[in-house]
Symmetry: C2
Subunit: 364 residues, 2 copies
């Protein structure tokens, strides 16, 4: 691994944000095998986080749940309209719709729409891109779930695409969703008539470039390749490799979602780059929190499988840094993200601020 | 199957172009089991075609072989430069380069560059698109060759991507090539500085839309899905279904290659649509000739497997229409394609004319 993401550097300058008393005395290398007392402390930390989220939420007038519900509904309408239900080839369209309309919180589209709004754009200008980033996200899930990859049978509680439609259709569904995302962004009729006729085409080209870059060998695919290389390895995954995987598998598409929204909203280059930094922070934050939740969940579930006492195979931040340091890292990333929003109008920035809080403090 | 390609209609208005004496008395439904005398006639027809190609070639000053060699070399340079050889993730980049730089005639890029030139554009304006259509073509080969699809071990005489790098990397290589094609087209630094700054972004967006459309459920993927549905079916494939497969698996990307070249070259809408009709004709022609060559090859190979006398499993035009009618269809498609070029400057149209002849009269 030669070149890593610039954010990686931020890891080395984390200063402890939590009280020293709360800090773990040693890194936790095998969470699943952790004693009960320590597992209790995880829950306490998560509960504190939930309280902080509630506090953050009540501090403004912004109703995050209503906002997310409205955006998800609008994005779902756009996604539903993007694939014909009854046209041939029926098997393909059905599989595409099955995978794309399977629910989900639509975090990436919400980030895209919120970034468009924070730079002063109309959300409708970014709706085709919001749909596109969800298509790309779904494509990556469909291909990652394949038997030759992670071999997952369930996704969001439903059988995965290849289980229902077979492996060939699942490969082709991913391909079709990927090309549809670009088709959807490039079609003139995807956009409302009030976009700036002179500047719009250049903004679309730039957005498509950002989207394309975050998928291939600089993004999702690169992350999956390195993840596959690490899987089953007897050696522990070094932290720079772990961060490479997360930055590519998770953060790259979150970054593209935000940046594309800002471009289509007509943001200045300086605004776009500030939002890029915001997105990189929450992208990594997303994964650190995922790892913390994984540990918490594992320890709760341990009751059911008591006696097994097996260390989990998966490398996580808590395993490498210890849980307290992982939480400190998360706090630092959240504070970095918030800082990037400080130059924007407070009211317009509320969705992005609350999205960062949500990613930091979510319970699943 | 509800809506088929408009070109399908052309099938019903084929008038016999070959002398009545040469017409087959009955359609040939099982070519592999054909008597020797008839197999000789195939060779004669192919020889006549070769003579016609030679005649067409000598009728102008245009040196087709030199032209194709120069274009292939330029496209190969662009493809080589588009993927770093030594950067991580190494396995992915290596697999991408292995598949993309495996040789091939580069017919699609040549069509793209020739279409750009015929409308008065500089070929360099279309070079990023010429590279992109080859990336898309390669992606479709890599995914179609997968064990869960056509399960092919060899491609252009070399082991296929999944044989060399494994199935997961092959799936991801296809995904990365697909996204790279769009990244390559969207990057500003892919283009020379003399493109029309005002009109260029809109042309790129329109081109990306054409490329994206020909891949998914209106193009390559749709063709592969219907092809998979037909494979192993005991029923003979009806001709409209066969044509659907060919128009989507083969013609759609040839059409996009030509149309994108014309768009980036600054062609008028009328020119672009005429070139689209040209491309649709040669797209179907490509497949009809493939089928005729398949039959000829089969009949020649029959000597080696004499006594087997098995009808081939694959549905082809000769099987459905008979060989003579297939040739008539091919002649008609070639004449349609030539007709679309008649309004263009003769010298500038020479590459497209010769590409059509090449597709019609090629021997492999």
């Amino acid at each position: 691994m030669a070149a890593f993401h610039p954010l990686v550097a931020s890891r080395v300058r984390i200063s402890p944000l939590l009280p020293a008393a709360a800090a773990a005395t040693a890194p936790v290398y095998a969470c699943a095998a952790m004693p009960y007392a320590r597992r209790r402390r995880f829950s306490a930390i998560v509960a504190t986080a939930a309280a902080a989220a509630a506090a953050a939420s009540s501090a403004t007038e912004f109703d995050f749940n209503t906002y997310m519900g409205e955006k998800a509904a609008a994005v779902n309408r756009a996604l539903d309209a993007s694939i014909p239900a009854d046209e041939p080839p029926a098997a393909l369209h059905e599989a595409m719709r099955y995978s794309l309309l399977a629910g989900g919180k639509r975090v990436r589209p919400a980030l895209c729409l919120a970034a468009c709004a924070v730079v002063g754009g109309r959300e409708a200008w970014a709706m085709p891109a919001a749909a596109a980033v969800e298509m790309v996200h779904t494509m990556s899930l469909v291909h990652d779930d394949l038997p030759c990859m992670d071999d997952d049978d369930l996704r969001r509680g439903k059988p995965t695409c290849h289980v229902v439609y077979g492996e060939p259709i699942a490969v082709l569904t991913g391909d079709a969703l990927l090309s549809l995302s670009f088709h959807h962004m490039a079609r003139t009729d995807s956009y409302p008539p009030d976009v700036d006729a002179d500047k719009h085409p250049a903004r679309v080209v730039r957005s498509i470039g950002e989207l394309a870059r975050c998928i291939g060998s600089e993004g999702l695919v690169a992350g999956q390749v390195v993840d596959l290389e690490m899987t089953g390895s007897a050696e522990p995954v070094p932290i720079d490799r772990l961060e490479y995987i997360h930055l590519h598998k998770t953060a790259a598409l979150l970054e593209a979602s935000v940046v594309i929204g800002a471009i289509l909203g007509g943001g200045s280059n300086e605004q776009i780059e500030r939002l890029r930094m915001y997105a990189r922070s929450i992208g990594l934050l997303f994964q650190v929190v995922d790892d913390i939740l994984d540990v918490t969940k594992s320890s709760e579930e341990l009751g059911k499988t008591a006696g097994k006492d097996l260390a989990s195979d998966k490398t996580t931040y808590p395993k490498l840094l210890g849980l307290e340091k992982s939480r400190e890292f998360a706090e630092r990333l959240l504070s970095d993200a918030r800082e990037q929003l400080s130059g924007f109008d407070k009211e317009k920035a509320a969705p992005l601020l609350h999205l960062a809080n949500y990613i930091a403090y979510r319970q699943n």
